[in-house]
Structures are given as C-alpha cells and as structure tokens.
Symmetry: C2
Amino acid sequence: MSRRPPATVAVTVDLVVLTIRDGGLRVLLIERGNEPFRGEPALPGGFLRPEEDLDAAAARELEEETGLRGLHLEQIGAYGAPDRDPRQRIVTVAYLAIMPDLPEPLAGSDASGAAWTPAAEALDGRIRLAFDHADILADAVELARTKLEQTTLATVFCPAEFTIAELRGVYETVWNTDRIDPRNFHRKVLGAEGFVEATGERRALETGRPASLYRRAGEVRGLYPPMLRP
Amino acid sequence: MSRRPPATVAVTVDLVVLTIRDGGLRVLLIERGNEPFRGEPALPGGFLRPEEDLDAAAARELEEETGLRGLHLEQIGAYGAPDRDPRQRIVTVAYLAIMPDLPEPLAGSDASGAAWTPAAEALDGRIRLAFDHADILADAVELARTKLEQTTLATVFCPAEFTIAELRGVYETVWNTDRIDPRNFHRKVLGAEGFVEATGERRALETGRPASLYRRAGEVRGLYPPMLRP
DNA sequence: AAAATAGTGTCTATAAGACAATATTCT
DNA sequence: AGAATATTGTCTTATAGACACTATTTT
C-alpha cells in the first residue's frame, strides 16, 4: 500500500428526521447558529465523539434534537466531497430517522430554531439548505420511498395505533402519489404477513363507519409481497 | 449544538471487489504487510487523500489494486465502531466493485499477495478476515444479491459479450441457489426492457446448439419487472 | 333517508413457474 | 442416431388493479 500522509478529516453525523404533518412530508431543520451558512436552514448533526460508534452518535444526536429514544434509524451513506464544508475537510455519515407526528413540541432541542419544514420546499429549491444537505435529503427521501415498498417502514410514521386509512395516507404522502385505491390497499395490507395486527378496537371519525385499529406487528422487516409503487 | 472537541479520526476507503471464477463468487483479498493483523487476509483499501472525494478515492484504490478503470462501483456504507482498529480511531467507507473474470493476472497491485478468494470461505469463517472486514463483506454480498434482483447489475459480472446461460450462471452463483429454470430465465431476460441486446453473433460450445451472444444494454439501471429471488 | 367511510367480493390482465416440444449443434 | 444445449410455446396459478357491492356510522 502506498504511504501518504492521511488527510486530516473530521467526521460528523447528520440526521434526516422525517415525519408527516398536515398531510405533507416534513423534515426537521435547524437554523445554523455559526458560520458558515449562519442563519440558514440545515440538517441537524454533530461531531462523532471519540468513543462512539456511528449508530450511537446518530441515536445521541436524535435524542438531543427530539428528546426521543428508540426511533427508527438507519444509515443513508457517507458524503465526503472535499469542498463540502469551506472550513475544513469533513466527512459526514447521514442517517434517516422516522417518527410519528407527535402533538408536543420537540423537547430538548439544543439548536436555535428547529422546525418541521415541508420536504418538498427543500427538495425543489424554494428553501436552500446549507452544505450539500439538499443532496442528502434527496437521497433520504428516495431511500424512504424504496423502503416503503419493500419493508413495513410505513408503520413508523404512524402512532402506536392507527387505521388502515392512516397507513394508506403515509404511502400517498411519501410517494407523493394520487389516491391509492382504498379497497385494494386494505386487502393487501391485511394479507401481508407481519405488517399490522388488529387491536380489536375501533375508532369513530366524524362520519362514516368506524375503522378498526391496528398496531405495527413487531419490528420493521421485509415485506412480501412488496407494496408496488404506482 | 453542543461543543465538544471532535474525535481525531482517520478516514479510509475499503473495497469489496467481487468476481465469479471457477463457478464461485470470489472476493479480492490482500495479505496485510503491517501490524495489526500482519500476514492475515483483509479487504484492500487505503486512506482518503486531502483533496479527494470518497467516490474518487474508491476508484483510485480500485485502479491501484486491479489496474482497471471504469469498473462498476457503489458505496456500501460507513463503518465506525470505536475499536475496529486497535491503533487509532478509523472510520471506513466501504465500496462494492464488480468485475468480470479476466484471464490476465491483476496488474499494478501494490499489495503483497492479492488473491481471489472464495467468498463463502470468508463468510462462514473458514478464512478469518482482519478488522470488521467479514461484516463488511457480508453486507457487500447481501447488497449484490439485492441489486441482482432489482437492477441489471448481473451484466457487470460478465465479459463484453455473453450468452443467456452465462448470465443465468451469475444469478445462480451469487444467489447460491439451485438451478434456475433456463427456459423461464431466458424468456424473462429478453422480455425485460434495457437489460441485454443481441450482438447478432453466436458462440459454439463443446456440444449443443450454439447460443446467441448479447451485450449489456447501456448502464446498470433498475429492472422492471425485477428478477425475483427464489 | 342521505352521506360518508370501512370493508368484502368479483372480474380481468399480467406475470411467475412448471414443463412439453422444437431447433441446432457435436460425436 | 444419440446426446447435449438453446429457444419457443403452452398451461396453471398467483397477484395487481378496476370496480360493484355490502356494512356501519353520523346527520
């Protein structure tokens, strides 16, 4: 192996925290307190600590931002363009986190101005993100879309108990697609092994027949047959 | 954001280079020349250079090891357990590279004793790899198996021109599966858009009707309908 | 009753998998 | 001719998607 002095690199962990609020996909953004990009929106994140695994760093950052532990978290990938941070060489490992839309404001956030921002506005450039965070967000959303097809990930957007119609809403929102046929969707979800299980309860909305409530059946896992994207 | 001294981290890029030789999936391993794990097999890799993107570092390492450019290369993920290297804190970004089985020995390898090793022996522990490289290899093989289902990746295991039977052999080898029905496979490959295109040539083996030759149709892309794993 | 949503049943088109049959080569 | 592999065709079964219909609630 050729021997050259290794680059002096700092490693950070950045988070793409997604939820669905007001019928739209939203991403948790902070307002940067320091240069560069001071005052501009960015993904939350921070430096990897000396004795910390990458996954642990992502879980710690997530708890610092949201006050919540045990949320779904998976690695997106590493980003290391040499000029992605103008101060110094930084390689970041990005993680995707997904949570239900909780009514309480996010507790414990140490960032100035964390806010749920419509993902579409950051993806199409109406909101300009710092660094290469728009690229990371785009990869994250694409990953979420694919995982919705092939795993039971959609359930982690939902609260502990949810209706099939709410689960269908997750697919429609994340895929940004027209109305999925409620009847075929219903039959397919209940027919898939290990997706949801009935609680026995029902929930009455304003009008119409009350819907049965379901909960996530165990951990997020592969889905067979997959939910095909239209 | 909390301000703590960032960890002093070195970033490396490691490669999982796969090919199919003698009917088996093989991975390119080097024999380590330095401590730790001196003399033991490991994935090839090296330090990220100061002005280099991660993808560029992977391509450079791949060329140093194989003498080849333009091979298929994609990121697997980042690995950063604090004790994964006993000397210092190292975060590595792993890449999957796939190449056809070339008859020439690998040129330009600057490692002592690069060798094509059966992947199964490293996966089941008959061969013990340095660091966490067995984990990385396992993730790489799983990624390759999934990409075979959903993309035209199988063609990059093949030389420029190949028969449908050879392509089928790639699936059987990487999936480590029983014989795939040659007739259904044949029909499905030719029916998929943008998978292979006929060269017009034929190739005669020792016996049997000569098979038509095909080449990869463009770049690796998504496959619809996917090739379902048995 | 009317409106609205939940849930079931039925039909059609598509694709997967099993496998028969034909085609083309070598020995 | 016989053996071997390639290629095409046919049949059965499973699933996606369209959509009619029934069920249960509120107004």
